[in-house]
């Protein structure tokens, strides 16, 4: 066992004899990393179930378990060599399948439980090494909306990076007062989450203040992938010329010399200075009352576009050509569809569920010959549970994902927009069209 700051590692073999040790490590380590008792128990249960699963499906496999504090969560990372096919039980839809055939499904029950008690999970396959991470998010207190100051701004305005908890909390509360919910992340309601992520460099905020220290506006951003930056805002709390431009200039200057190429917003409000950005797409977003609201997504590049190749199923090519022509993006589109080679039997889709059942985000994690049926099962489950906006993310740098274009369009998804450089190349985000919409 090794321990470095906020990280603990265990190197062991998949065997039920180690379960008490793993439980002990999680139950002792997670509270030290800031997780509350209830969440600690859930993470311990998830870790226990995961080891149980591996000891049944791949006994004796060498396994490295790493418990660590992320920005606003505690995670248990399992690294091992195994067939990724065994992970199918982490599909959101696996419960019904296991319950229909308990004898066959028992070996995977642990995995099902592990994925359900975790707040989120992610899977990566590097060579033959599988990395499965189970996350438990730290619970933060919610704040109330704040009263908007009426005093006029004084003196020169300036934009500066902010990490002060009081300033961040106050700006979040002002944003909640002045802007509708879709225009800010739900974590604004629990600014402790934002403050923790800022302190670990996972989230960034800048404020514009006047000479008296009054906060006039805020902008926030995070780096979801190596070459993209997503921003929120600008949020303006006072009337004053140029506040929004000051915030946007600050943001651009902060990220201009990074690896990022694409700066985008999925929730920019009316105060975005448009001359700095290009419309990426107009998304017909469904609301729970059945009405549609059109949201414009904005982006800009941070440096010259050098072009890149993308894989695409032939059915997606017209959409991509139209998009790339409209955005003046240079891409070499390489057609790709299932080549008929051997594939694993079972696929895995990761699903992130949004608050209030407004949206669910599906992304393909592992390919399998059942992936079309798997997509259909996910649609059926999510529609039955009244999720109103289903999105599916496809990475065009990964051939087998690109080959899903036909399956997606035939199961009711439509390509909604391209997010340049969100993967090694671009990602396409599909939106599910409800047949009764």
């Amino acid at each position: 066992m090794t321990e470095t700051g906020s990280r603990l590692s265990l190197d062991l073999k998949a065997d039920i004899c180690w379960i008490p040790l793993v439980q002990g490590v999680v139950e002792t380590g997670a509270p030290v990393m800031g997780l509350d008792p209830g969440k600690t128990l859930r993470l311990a249960l998830a870790a226990e179930e995961f080891i149980l699963h591996l000891s049944r499906t791949a006994p004796g496999t060498r396994l490295i378990l790493t418990l660590s504090r992320e920005a606003s969560s505690v995670s248990a990372l399992f690294q091992f060599e195994s067939s990724p096919e065994d992970l199918w039980a982490m599909n959101l839809t696996a419960a019904s399948e296991i319950s229909q055939d308990l004898d066959q499904g028992m070996a995977h029950m642990g995995l099902l439980l592990a994925s359900r008690v975790a707040d989120r999970f992610s899977i990566a396959l590097n060579g033959r090494t599988l990395s499965v991470t189970l996350f438990q998010d730290i619970i933060y207190p919610e704040i109330e909306k704040a009263e908007v100051p009426s005093a006029p701004l004084r003196g020169i305005l300036s934009a500066e990076a902010c990490s002060d908890p009081a300033d961040i909390s106050h700006a979040c509360a002002l944003t909640m007062t002045l802007y509708p919910e879709p225009l800010y992340p739900k974590s604004f309601r629990t600014p402790g989450n934002i403050i923790d992520r800022i302190s670990q460099g996972r989230f960034h905020a800048a404020l514009v203040k006047d000479e008296a220290g009054t906060t006039a506006g805020m902008i926030c951003w995070q780096i979801p992938s190596r070459r993209t930056v997503e921003f929120y805002g600008p949020y303006l709390f006072s009337k004053g010329d140029g506040i929004a431009q000051l915030l946007i200039d600050h943001l651009i200057n902060q990220v201009a010399r990074t690896e990022a190429i694409t700066l985008y917003s999925r929730a920019a409000g009316p105060d975005l200075p448009l001359g700095n950005f290009e419309p990426l797409a107009a998304l017909a977003y469904r609301q729970s009352n059945g009405q549609k609201e059109t949201r414009t997504l904005w982006f800009r590049h941070l440096r010259e576009d050098m072009g890149c190749p993308v894989w695409a199923h032939p059915v997606l090519v017209p959409f991509l050509k139209e998009t790339y022509d409209r955005l003046f993006l240079i891409r070499t589109i390489r057609e790709y569809k299932d080549q008929g080679g051997s594939r694993p039997a079972r696929s895995l889709l990761g699903t992130r569920l949004g608050a209030d059942k407004q949206e669910a985000f599906i992304r393909p994690m592992l390919d399998g010959t059942d992936i079309r049926e798997n997509i259909q099962r996910h649609i059926q489950l999510l529609v039955n549970e009244k999720y109103v906006n289903l999105f599916f993310t496809m990475d065009l740098s990964i051939g087998w994902q690109a080959a899903l274009g036909k399956d997606l369009t035939e199961t009711g998804f439509e390509p909604a927009y391209v997010l340049p450089y969100a993967g090694e190349s671009d990602k396409v985000i599909f939106h599910y069209v409800h047949p009764h919409a």
């Binding site: 651009i252 001359g275 800009r300 590049h301 941070l302 050098m306 003046f328």
Partner: protein, 373 residues
């Protein structure tokens, strides 16, 4: 299960540094953007090409010379530079472009925990080399598009080892006049090295422009950088140099890579500075004529611009600079976007021959009308 644990062996300042990916070759870009010719207005190259004497050197370079190492410290070239600037040979170091001498200087004077001072919106390599060397880069905001001497002096502390002044500044073209520079050097009072990067000095003919070659006689802590890429059009050969007092150069020499400048580059540079007067005048004339075309054009459109020194100008465009880049590339015109210089929505244009400038004007006008539709 063998995972290379890079985070254990790579220093944090390297892991945190963002790698730089240069532009693709012209042939690839032309193919991608579907154009048959490309006007390169992005790198401030001298479109006239090198002086005639350089052509003769390049044409005369034979395959028999390829197996022989170049002279390791550019002996002949330093001899010529010494004669041209009335100095001694040991006051010069030649590098594979001035980027290499920037690296040598930072390595010679800075250790982790030290800092360098420069502007936030200037040639990025000072900042980059400092950061990937584990040295803090203190970036002082420009004032009225120029370096701010008072703010730079305020930032100096006992850990400051080098101040970089780009004079004239790339990309704004502003410069400190002689009085400003002397006041600044006096205030620094030899507490640290002051690098005066004069990459574009040959383009400046204003009488108040300070010559660092002369200033270092009074201020031995001054180092000047010069390059053969900008005025002398030897960019493909990668050759630049520094000059300072012998004691300072002796220190930098300890961290400077020898044998990094190839033989054709050394010979071409030597040829370029021999009898360069007419060539410099012809280049200045070309740049002046280009300005005379572009400035009225942008005035007519009501588009703000900066037209100062150097063979370039900056334009504040009414759309995203990176979108404008993509649209101009479809017309076979390549400009430099300025977001990376922390000037979002500005572009920098190299000033070249009139027919090319006219092509740029036509392409820009067409792109603007497309955007405004």
């Amino acid at each position: 299960m063998s995972t290379l644990m890079l985070d254990r062996i790579v220093p944090r300042h390297i892991r945190n540094f963002e790698p730089y990916y240069p532009s693709k070759p012209d042939s690839v870009l032309m193919s991608l953007f579907g154009v048959e010719r490309l006007h390169r207005l992005n790198n401030n190259e001298n479109a006239l090409g090198p002086p005639p004497a350089v052509h003769r050197v390049i044409d005369g370079f034979s395959a028999e010379m390829v197996p022989v190492y170049p002279n390791g410290d550019c002996f002949d070239l330093r001899d010529l530079l010494a004669a041209k600037f009335h100095k001694t040979q040991d006051q010069f170091l030649v590098g594979n472009g001035s980027c290499e001498v920037i690296s040598s200087v930072i390595k010679a004077f800075c250790v982790k925990g030290d800092n360098i001072i420069t502007a936030d919106k200037t040639f990025a390599v000072y900042e980059w080399v400092a950061e990937f060397s584990g040295v803090e880069a203190r970036l002082i905001p420009l004032k009225d598009f120029g370096f701010d001497p008072e703010a730079m002096l305020d930032a100096v502390d006992d850990k400051t080892k080098i101040i970089f002044v780009c004079n004239p500044n790339n990309p704004t073209g502003t410069y400190w006049d002689r009085d400003t520079m002397i006041r600044f050097l006096e205030a620094v009072d030899q507490r640290c090295i002051v690098v005066i990067d004069e990459a574009y000095c040959e383009y400046v003919d204003n009488p108040d422009y300070p010559d660092a070659m002369l200033l270092m006689e009074t201020f031995p802590n001054v180092i000047t950088f010069r390059t053969f890429s900008k005025m002398y059009a030897l960019a493909a050969l990668r050759i630049g140099y520094l000059c300072s007092s012998p004691d300072v150069v002796d220190m930098v020499r300890r961290t400077h890579i020898v044998y990094s400048v190839n033989t054709p580059a050394q010979q071409a540079a030597a040829a370029a500075i021999t009898d360069d007067r007419d060539f410099i005048l012809a280049t200045r004339k070309m740049v002046k004529e280009a300005r005379q075309l572009l400035c009225p054009f942008f005035d007519g459109l009501g588009i703000p611009y900066l037209s100062n020194q150097g063979n370039y100008m900056m334009v504040h465009v009414p759309l995203s600079d990176t979108l404008l880049y993509r649209m101009l590339m479809k017309h076979g015109v390549m400009v430099r976007t300025m977001t990376g210089f922390r000037f979002p929505n500005w572009i920098r244009i190299s000033l070249v021959q009139a027919p090319v400038m006219t092509d740029f004007i036509n392409a820009f006008r067409e792109v603007l009308s497309t955007v405004q539709k």
